[in-house]
């Protein structure tokens, strides 16, 4: 029987690089999905990735394609500068919750409001990873963080921010969806959401964002499986998965 090739590793990730992501972290998973989508769309030669600051930026050393590290929070502004002057370049940002929803809130909102023709991949794990577990805008109520040692208290810290729903109040964005990578089914759906966001840009439709709810076992103080349970029970209760907006056909 002839052998049939059913899987090859994406070439967009450099083979000889060793991942610095923690066990159970989903950055590597999403990075692979992005690479596969880039492969499938055949756009590697025109791809520019704008990385945020934090764990989301670790992959700069592993990805085999063009990338730039933006100042903390400014990824959507950097992407604006690249895309406006190079409309044929495919530009996506890759940002964590502190980067996109806290220090970069103005840049995110404004780029979305201008309807920049860019794609945003937003990794929401409810905590600051690289700096060691501080409270994020997306930290759940009661969830402990190194700067909220008694847990997030709405009286003092307010409530978790829902970026997809916030951007849904704007007129310009074309596509907003929240997904996760906690099950094979959700992972495959995340891949198709990423592809949709990318195709929207390639076809000139405007601003797309995929919010991917992920884990941070290290700073949640859990093992990888425990973090998956926590994500399913708590994160997804606060951040329900699903399509928030799809104006792809109108755009």
């Amino acid at each position: 029987m002839a052998e049939k090739l059913v899987y090859t590793r994406t070439k967009t990730i450099q083979e000889d690089k060793v991942s610095g992501f923690c066990p159970g972290c989903m950055h590597g998973t999403v990075m692979k999905l992005i690479g596969e989508v880039i492969d499938e769309l055949g756009i590697i030669e025109k791809t520019a990735c704008v990385l945020g600051i934090g764990c989301c930026g670790l992959q700069m050393d592993y990805m085999a394609y063009d990338n730039i590290t933006s100042p903390h929070g400014r990824a959507c502004a950097v992407a604006t500068g690249i895309k406006r002057t190079n409309p044929d370049t495919f530009v996506f940002t890759y940002q964590g919750d502190g980067d996109l929803a806290s220090i970069g809130l103005a840049e995110t909102m404004s780029a979305a409001n201008r309807g920049e023709n860019i794609s945003v991949i937003f990794i929401n794990n409810g905590i600051y990873g690289m700096t060691g577990g501080q409270m994020a805008p997306t930290t759940l109520l009661g969830m402990k963080a190194t700067t909220a040692p008694k847990g997030r208290d709405p009286k003092e810290h307010g409530y978790p921010m829902h970026m997809c729903e916030i951007l849904d109040k704007l007129t310009a964005p074309v596509y907003l969806e929240r997904t996760s990578c906690n099950t094979p089914q959700n992972l495959m759906h995340t891949k198709s959401a990423i592809k949709k966001a990318f195709v929207n840009q390639l076809e000139g439709r405007g601003f797309s964002m995929v919010e991917i709810v992920t884990t941070c076992p290290t700073n949640w103080g859990m093992d990888a499986l425990g973090a998956l349970d926590y994500l399913e029970k708590n994160m997804l209760a606060e951040f329900p998965l699903g399509l928030i907006r799809d104006r792809t056909k109108e755009a």
Binding site: T80, T85, T89
Partner: protein, 360 residues
């Protein structure tokens, strides 16, 4: 090329367009609003792009992105806004991304005043952002100089792959003067400049890890970061011979006025008055405040000179620190200062010069 009558801000904006600038992002702040306003109209005419950013930090990051993808790009602001730009400027310096920015300086510190001042000297020349980087900093005194310096700044930025700052002020930015604009680069020339950056510009490359465009405003490896800093230091060192100053009637000078930017022009007019009165006055006016033209001060005849007069629109005196280094104790230095948005008066300079000549 015919002379035209233009406002400083607009002349600087037009000079940038003529130098091949095709991207501008900025945020409103007085007294530099004419630059973004002009660019919003002008850039689309030449196939360029203007974005009114949501803030100065966003605007300079847009410029970082556009410049990192090979386009000649510029931003501008005024003093408090320049502080906000420092984040993106430091990133450009670290990642070796060429860009040009203009400070149409106003009073400070804090929100200060919207009138002209020179309170940003130390920020411009010593620490325009975190991390100890350096930039060429030009200080125009006329609309003509402002246009010429902006035009040249893009070549310097590209040559060095480093930011360049034009330190102007609210007078140079808002006054109208005759100016001969530099030649317009052709679309072919602008395209060739962009193409020359293609190997490192973040626009997409063939799948090849070693040859991808990788714009890195920092290094994980401390050893590599030190190497990068050593290379940058060598670059900054190489600029020393590029330091420029206007040296005016220096040879027989018994009193030397020194000043930069608009204040240097006022000081020069005071030198002319003094000469008419028979006082042997001279002037050193740095055109580059970084690198600082220390050598110009070696050409003062210290056997003749009764004193040096530092003239600046800043209190405390800031430019004075470089003048003291340059003079190195060879003559007494007095100051003539104003601040808060008040413009230097020639009479005040003449009074201060008289004191020196009287031996006070």
């Amino acid at each position: 090329m015919a002379r035209v009558f233009m406002k400083g801000c607009e002349a600087m904006a037009e000079a940038a367009v003529r130098a091949g600038c095709r991207f501008f992002a900025g945020y409103p702040i007085t007294p530099q609003n004419e630059i973004p306003e002009y660019m919003s109209r002008r850039l689309p005419e030449v196939g360029g792009h203007f974005v009114q950013g949501e803030s100065e930090v966003a605007s300079v990051s847009m410029v970082y992105g556009a410049a990192a993808s090979g386009t000649r790009s510029m931003t501008s602001s005024s003093s408090p806004g320049i502080s906000l730009k420092s984040e993106g400027v430091s990133y450009c310096a670290s990642a070796r991304v060429p860009m040009v920015y203009i400070n149409v300086a106003r009073g400070g510190p804090g929100v200060g005043s919207i009138q002209p001042a020179q309170m940003d000297y130390l920020q411009a020349t010593k620490a325009s952002g975190n991390g100890g980087f350096r930039m060429r900093v030009f200080a125009p005194a006329t609309v003509q100089e402002a246009a010429d310096m902006v035009y040249a700044a893009f070549d310097y930025a590209d040559r060095d792959r480093n930011p360049v700052l034009i330190l102007s002020d609210g007078v140079v930015g808002t006054m109208m003067e005759p100016v001969e604009l530099p030649p317009m680069k052709t679309e072919e020339e602008v395209a060739a400049i962009k193409e020359s950056k293609r190997s490192w510009a973040i626009v997409g490359h063939k799948l090849d890890y070693a040859h991808r465009a990788w714009i890195q405003p920092g290094q994980w490896s401390t050893l590599l970061q030190q190497k990068e800093n050593e290379a940058a230091a060598a670059l900054y060192e190489s600029w020393k011979s590029d330091a420029r100053a206007e040296e005016y009637l220096l040879e027989d000078a018994e009193i030397v006025l020194t000043s930069y930017g608009i204040c240097g022009r006022i000081a020069k007019s005071a030198v002319n008055v003094l000469r008419r009165e028979g006082v042997k006055a001279g002037l050193i006016r740095p055109l580059t405040v970084y690198p600082f033209p220390y050598g110009a001060y070696d050409r003062i005849d210290y056997r003749r000179v009764k004193g040096i007069l530092d003239v600046e629109m800043s209190i405390p005196a800031l430019f004075l620190e470089d003048v003291e280094t340059a003079v190195a104790g060879r003559a007494r230095i007095s100051t003539c200062l104003c601040s808060g948005g008040n413009i230097m008066s020639r009479d005040a300079v003449l009074r201060a010069a008289a004191k020196i000549m009287e031996g006070n």
